[in-house]
């Protein structure tokens, strides 16, 4: 892996490998997040993928895409703490499989046009608003997704954690064509850009093509990682007519990836709730059959962690107490050496397996670049291996519960025969 800084905050990373059948490209624009920005980006993502100023209809865009053996540009937004990233991602079949040097013949131009010339007008914005609204409503209909979003809103009130990266229903109506055009122009001209290429490519050719494009200019960086200050714990319950309830617990250890106790926290979280042999899975699902789904995750760039589970409403307090007990057992140093070792092994296994998936490679290195702490995977693996039981015990003392959100199912159980 090589990271080439070709301009201020314009980085190119080429992973040259012949093992994939295609070549993956990812263009990632980064800026500060806000509810309005997230909504504009959601609308841009909707407008930028199926038409552009050079291919004015979906029919024409589909024709161009199919000429490239079904390449399409997927535009999506991801939050990284205080920042939001819009990614234009595409893949093109390696020309050697079809006796055609696809990459040289039009692909780069097509891809760069997709970024530079989205079709932004009243008509496309109207469609984008309709689609974005549908996506937002659909995600509210999914009980677990809804519960997580509500919990993040409560725990992150006033901070980027509360921003829904898919946009805001309230903001949709106030955004106009000019807002989108201005934002897009600013994005392609000024925002930090990281470009990733994974596949069998000529490095110099890629570098020259980027240097010869509109993207080649100095750009502005923004910060990503942050900590939410200490808060008073809040408990909220909503009800919905459904069989199962969803419980979300949010913890704010205020640990971010540049902190020395970051890897101890990650190892601890893995042992606590990310493995099928983790404490939560074993104690709550396997031993007591109280749930099917339970897990714990970090939201890395916001310095928080959370537990999610689907349970019977009348078991919510019991399950919460059991989760508290698991936290307490980690805090008091009761985590077994074998579970700590297994957690480390699984984390290292995941890191090594990234090499077999082009999208995973890109996601992984992008985060590493944003964190700015590591130069290679081996450094990270070494830090994971160095984590001690004492560090785990100490870092879990910081796991303060800040939010309990219960989406309570209040329906009689339906029976489907």
């Amino acid at each position: 892996m090589k990271r080439i800084k070709i301009q201020e905050n314009l980085n190119l990373c080429i992973i040259n490998t012949g093992k994939f059948k295609d070549i993956s490209f990812s263009f990632r624009f980064l800026s500060k997040t806000s509810e309005k920005d997230a909504t504009i980006r959601a609308l841009l993502a909707s407008m930028a993928s199926d038409r552009n100023e050079k291919a004015l209809t979906k029919v024409e865009m589909t024709r161009l895409s199919d000429q490239l053996y079904g390449s399409y540009v997927d535009v999506r937004n991801t939050g990284f703490g205080e920042a939001i990233c819009t990614e234009f991602k595409t893949k093109v079949l390696n020309g050697k499989y079809v006796n055609q040097p696809v990459i040289l013949d039009g692909f780069m131009e097509w891809m760069l046009d997709m970024i530079r010339y989205p079709l932004i007008n009243e008509e496309t914005l109207k469609e984008a608003k309709k689609n974005t609204r549908s996506i937002l409503i659909r995600s509210l209909d999914n009980p677990m997704q809804f519960a997580m979003k509500k919990a993040f809103e409560i725990a992150g009130k006033g901070y980027p954690l509360s921003v829904n990266i898919q946009g805001s229903l309230d903001m949709l109506d106030v955004i106009g064509v000019e807002d989108c055009k201005f934002y897009h122009q600013n994005m392609i001209e000024n925002m930090r850009l990281d470009i990733f290429v994974v596949g069998d490519v000529e490095e110099n050719e890629i570098i020259e093509r980027i240097k010869g494009s509109f993207l080649y200019r100095g750009r502005e960086n923004v910060s990503t990682m942050y900590r939410i200050p200490s808060q008073i714990s809040e408990s909220v319950e909503l009800s919905r007519k459904m069989d199962q309830s969803n419980l979300i617990l949010i913890y704010n250890p205020q640990v971010i990836p540049t902190d020395k106790d970051y890897w101890p926290l990650r190892v601890a979280m893995t042992a606590f709730g990310s493995l099928p042999s983790s404490l939560c899975f074993t104690e709550i699902r396997e031993k007591r059959s109280l749930c099917y789904t339970i897990g714990a995750q970090m939201i890395t760039f916001d310095g928080v962690g959370f537990v999610y589970t689907g349970i019977d409403a009348d078991q919510a307090d019991t399950v919460e107490q059991l989760i508290d007990m698991q936290i307490e057992s980690v805090r008091s140093g009761e985590l077994s050496d074998s579970l700590i070792d297994a957690s480390k092994k699984m984390m290292i296994n995941s890191i090594r397996q990234i090499e077999d998936d082009a999208s995973a490679i890109i996601n992984y290195y992008y985060q590493i670049f944003l964190i700015g702490r590591y130069n290679s995977k081996e450094e990270i693996i070494s830090d994971i291996n160095a984590v001690t039981p004492l560090e785990i015990k100490d870092v879990f003392a910081k796991m303060t519960k800040v939010t309990r959100f219960l989406l309570k199912g209040d329906a009689e159980h339906e029976h489907h025969n």
Binding site: R63, Y97, I348
Partner: protein, 425 residues
């Protein structure tokens, strides 16, 4: 050892039967750092009646294959999932209608987890208590899917479409059938379906194929297996009509959705015939109901179709369906629209060539992922089809085939399912 090299896709596959009669397949992927191993049995959610060599019918309770998948991870020696994590391998399993698959992936050495996979799948160790305890977990799983709008919509659609076919049951069964499953029933299902002769092991790896065969041979040589049961799934005679023409159900949601599903009756026995007919229908529908059709933009603007709109075609042994889904409250207008456009559907030669190019690209891309490739291989094998041939079936489709496939659709033979908003919300 049988070696199959496909020059076009630049892939080589090695096959060998070990002494236990287990067929082992190695998809050799030099350059990959990880390995994925999957062991599968052709016993899934649709196998609710089996027959033995004497013609006796054995009834299988809905959800048994899935229940068994949960219980196979139990061992007297300790938790199997924990044992895998201790060697840095990630283990999991899934049950579909057609098969149950147990698998792990690792970037560490493969021998230990491969032996563990072979060991736990060869040995069912369950107690009455553990079976009872598992019911709570499975019922929570069923409830989770029942309140997910899209999963529930598909489930209700299958229940409306099929009269006898087990697709009308959820793969996991019902709360009642799960509650009725016993230790003895699971042991019987296991005995009938988990003999090495019935199973298939596929390993996608950069490791030497011979080493994989040796590991499996050594493992199975140390085990004794009963004689292979002679068992077959009872052929399902599905009536030509749908079970119910209209059905609505309620959830506490904002997005109201509908499916319109045409039941396809066919007599094709051969998988390649079925899948070619499936491709023909899919291509015709793609040309009509997607951005390839200039009218599609108008349909979106007029609200006839939403961004959620789409379709599925599936022609399997003894069943067939063409399902459309959309976000709409007005299912009658949706049906009218579909009936009219299906009648008018057409595809030009240039569109056919365009689509073939797209799907060949997709076929190449499907070979990037170790697990996906292994699963496709398992499914092709269980369906008695050639894996590499299946990747290029789309290339054989002609305009004539597509025109013929149109006759499979009977516009009058369909069911409508609508997701409505709960009255109390």
């Amino acid at each position: 050892m049988n070696i199959i090299t496909n020059k076009r896709f630049n892939e080589t596959i090695y096959e060998q039967k070990v002494s236990s009669e287990l067929k082992v397949v190695v998809i050799h992927k030099p350059g990959y750092v990880g390995s994925s191993a999957l062991i599968a049995t052709p016993f899934g959610g649709m196998h609710n009646k089996l027959t033995d060599q004497n013609g006796n019918i054995i009834d299988i309770l809905p959800g048994s294959a899935h229940f068994l998948e949960h219980k196979l991870f139990e061992s007297e020696e300790g938790d199997i999932m924990t044992a895998f994590t201790e060697v840095g391998a990630s283990v999991n399993a899934f049950t579909s209608y057609e098969e149950t698959v147990y698998f792990f992936s690792t970037s560490n050495e493969i021998e230990t987890p491969l032996n563990m996979l072979l060991d736990f799948v060869s040995n069912l160790q369950i107690s009455e208590d553990s079976v009872e305890k598992e019911k709570g977990i499975i019922i929570q799983e069923l409830r989770m899917y029942a309140q997910m709008p899209d999963a529930r919509l598909v489930n209700e659609t299958y229940r409306s479409l099929f009269v006898e076919h087990p697709f009308s049951n959820d793969i996991g069964g019902t709360e009642e059938s799960v509650t009725a499953i016993t230790k003895q029933h699971l042991e019987q299902c296991y005995k009938l379906n988990y003999h090495p002769q019935r199973m298939l092991l596929v390993v996608a790896t950069g490791e030497s194929p011979q080493r994989i065969f040796d590991i499996v041979e050594n493992n199975h040589a140390s085990k004794s297996f009963d004689d292979a049961p002679v068992v077959e799934s009872v052929k399902i005679t599905e009536p030509g009509h749908v079970f119910r023409e209209y059905h609505e159900f309620q959830l506490d949601v904002q997005s109201l959705k509908s499916t319109v599903t045409y039941k396809i009756n066919h007599t094709m026995q051969n998988e390649s015939d079925r899948k070619k007919a499936e491709w023909s229908l899919r291509l015709l529908m793609e040309a009509t109901f997607s951005a390839l059709n200039p009218a599609y933009q108008d349909w979106m603007d007029e609200g006839l179709v939403s961004d959620f709109f789409g379709f599925e075609v599936d022609l399997g042994e003894g069943y067939g369906l063409l399902m459309f889904y959309n976000e709409t409250e007005d299912s009658s207008s949706f049906v009218e629209f579909l009936d009219k456009e299906i009648k008018n559907s057409s595809i030009s030669d240039s569109t056919l060539q365009q689509l073939k190019r797209r799907y060949i690209g997709q076929a190449f891309r499907s070979l990037n992922d170790l697990e996906d490739m292994a699963i496709s291989y398992i499914r092709s094998t269980f369906a008695k089809a050639d894996f590499f041939e299946s990747l290029t079936w789309v290339e054989d489709i002609t305009l004539y085939d597509i025109e013929n496939s149109r006759s499979l659709i009977d516009l009058g033979n369909r069911c409508i399912v609508s997701l409505k908003k709960s009255k109390t919300s």
